[in-house]
Symmetry: C2
Subunit: 408 residues, 2 copies
């Protein structure tokens, strides 16, 4: 087993001002290659500490991924620190220099003086092209070890990783990963899952199981050195226990699953969103090609608009309120008719922190779905703050749509 | 200066399947208390490694924040590991037990057997109530050191942190932080900022400056032990150089700034979104009370809907295409009229990965804004993948709205 470590460098991470999404990305991709990281370590832009940490990791690691601090501004100290530890000189890379010059030319901007500093690279390094930014990536061979340097801006890191680092790792460290089964569930708690499947899990030897809860649901991750046949038997048994709580496998997202279902059935979709404020539509349009089946939405943050554009009757609002099963069904029917789609969804709820009434608590959400055949609704009560309630309502609405589509 | 460390525990983080947002949250909050973390370390659910890491950190740290692995399932090993290192027994906490029982009762669910395991806590610990989940937080005093245990589910961690941990830290480790100035810019590159302000920065002694780029823009973070007066002079000088590239200060978000501007001017807003797919509306509705000024949106993912509901003329689409300045201005005017709002926004662009034409590359985005006074547009070309283009277009649209509102 190879030992890999991820070292994230940046005061902005330790200050809590910036999310570190890079370590997650790198971890996911190297896991796919069978090189899971032993640890992810984050430290600040402190030259001495960077040098000490790299020296220590060189004792433990076969591969070190270092991310951040490659920029040309004075607070970027990664390149000089690596140069000191590995005793390498900095040299000017002409390709990087002209790429940086072109980058600014394309946007009709003058090349800033600092840009030339960006072209200083570690002697002997493999230079990795950065197609979307300035700082190039680098790979250094140090005896049998590899040190990979990546910029901290996520889009740049990802592009360089995919075009330069992943192919390098694949060529030099090809490792066959264990079988991994990831079963994605939603709308069911971690503990209830354990109750339902723990006797199944116990019957299989040599597997390890993890339950990974997130706001979207619980992923059940099972890894094993078993043969594939045993593994698919286990999958079948778990599926029989959890049934429609399972929405997907592997890393499929709910929006991709829905996209495939709509495409396969040649159906179109429109949505009337209230408390989710556009998040359902945002998710759906993250899938490339979603314009094939997603026609559009109305976000009705106002009762007048609910009546005018989503076809909700005045008396329905008066009698049942905006947050009610009657309203979301009329929203679903109304949007389906107005946008002339096969499926219509209506969502209304109380995202908080204000807006609760005696009968209707914060977190109460109704979802209605209308198709040619029928209209239906679900009622949910979610815990959490405003953003969490929006995210949970979005996930449940998408999952309700999935279950509806599977029956069509 | 106190030494604090954040230890994140969870195979799901190292597998790259789950983002670790907890370390960012904890880091931000303890920075506000003047206890910045020296390092953030992530390791897996491995009992031996957890014990070794905690033992090592006890040598270095005054405060250790341990997050994750507090659940009752067999893969959760944090509590038992801490018990072993600190030689504490596990005892049953009656309050936690009855809270867990109530939690399931409220949702009309049977209490799972595992739930009782959740009430096992470390002897002598301060038990912190978890109002939104099962696992309680804990604080252990170990000599002069404090060890804080928090669950890994972000909403639970945050609730416990705010109600239990923050007050504890504030009472026991009150430290006055340095002055920190955070200037938020957008639509200008890090290097151009450095060119514009580096001579100003040089004139001030004893300050440290960091440039923090993200998809939304660049934050300029300046910390110093200077007096407040010198600091506000520096702020003035930077503002004079960067002018309207600055959209906010501190941790203000663009959506909160817009919300305040709309409220102050008593204006209402509606949006016609195409390539952003609902993300602009989603952002705006993250602000509590946004229903006061945000009336609603139409997401027009289809040209028919653009004509029918956003008031775009057939000949405009035929002559200029859906991605054009003419179309977004008609969208802005159309949505403003239909939703009867003071301001209307129209956005159209090519998010990719397909859809580019000879004249119109992926990343091309037009934004139109219509008010009572006038209508105006901006043209942008963004780098990045589909999601990045959606996010950058959203940020620029919100910033264009900010600049427009400031002149009204």
């Amino acid at each position: 087993m190879l030992n890999s470590y991820i070292l994230i460098i940046g005061d902005e991470i330790l200050s809590g001002r910036t999310y570190d999404s890079n370590s997650c990305y790198i971890a996911r991709r190297i896991n796919e290659l069978g090189i899971p990281p032993k640890s992810i370590i984050t430290i600040g832009d402190d030259k001495l500490l960077i040098e000490q940490t790299i020296s220590a990791l060189l004792e433990l690691a076969d591969i070190i991924f270092i991310c951040g601090g490659l920029g040309p501004t004075p607070d970027d100290k990664t390149v000089i620190s690596v140069a000191n530890v590995l005793k390498r000189r900095l040299v000017l890379d002409e390709t990087t220099l002209s790429r940086v010059e072109n980058y600014f030319a394309k946007q009709n901007q003058k090349v800033p003086e600092l840009a030339t500093k960006q072209a200083l690279v570690l002697q002997g390094a493999i230079i990795l092209n950065n197609p979307v930014g300035q700082a190039p990536g680098m790979i250094l061979k140090h005896g049998k070890k590899s040190i990979v340097l990546l910029p901290g801006v996520p889009i740049e890191m990802e592009k360089i990783f995919e075009t330069g680092v992943f192919p390098y790792l694949n060529d030099n460290y090809s490792l066959k990963p264990d079988f991994i089964l990831n079963i994605r569930t939603t709308n069911i708690s971690e503990m209830v899952i354990v109750e339902k499947i723990s006797d199944v899990i116990k019957r299989y030897k040599g597997i390890s199981t993890a339950y990974l809860p997130s706001v979207l649901g619980v992923d059940i991750k099972i890894s094993s050195i078993q043969d594939k046949k045993t593994f698919s038997q286990l999958d079948k048994e778990i599926t029989a226990r959890l049934k429609s709580y399972i929405y997907g496998r592997g890393q499929e997202t709910i929006e991709d699953i829905i996209g495939n279902l709509l495409r396969k059935r040649q159906l179109t979709l429109s949505i009337a969103e209230s408390c989710t404020g556009g998040l359902i539509s945002d998710k759906i349009t993250n899938t490339p090609g979603s314009s094939e089946y997603f026609i559009g939405s109305i976000i009705v943050y106002n009762n007048k608009i609910k009546k005018l554009l989503a076809g909700v009757k005045d008396e329905t609002l008066k009698k049942n309120g905006a947050v009610s099963k009657e309203t979301v069904i009329e929203m679903a029917l109304g949007i389906r008719e107005r946008f002339n789609t096969d499926i219509g969804i209506g969502v209304s709820g109380i995202a908080g922190p204000t807006g609760a009434t005696k009968d209707k608590p914060i977190g109460l959400v109704y979802i209605g779905i209308a198709s040619k055949k029928a209209s239906n609704y679900e009622e949910h009560i979610f815990n959490g703050n405003r953003r969490m309630i929006k995210e949970k309502a979005t996930m449940v609405a998408l999952d309700f749509l999935r279950r509806t589509l599977e029956l069509l």
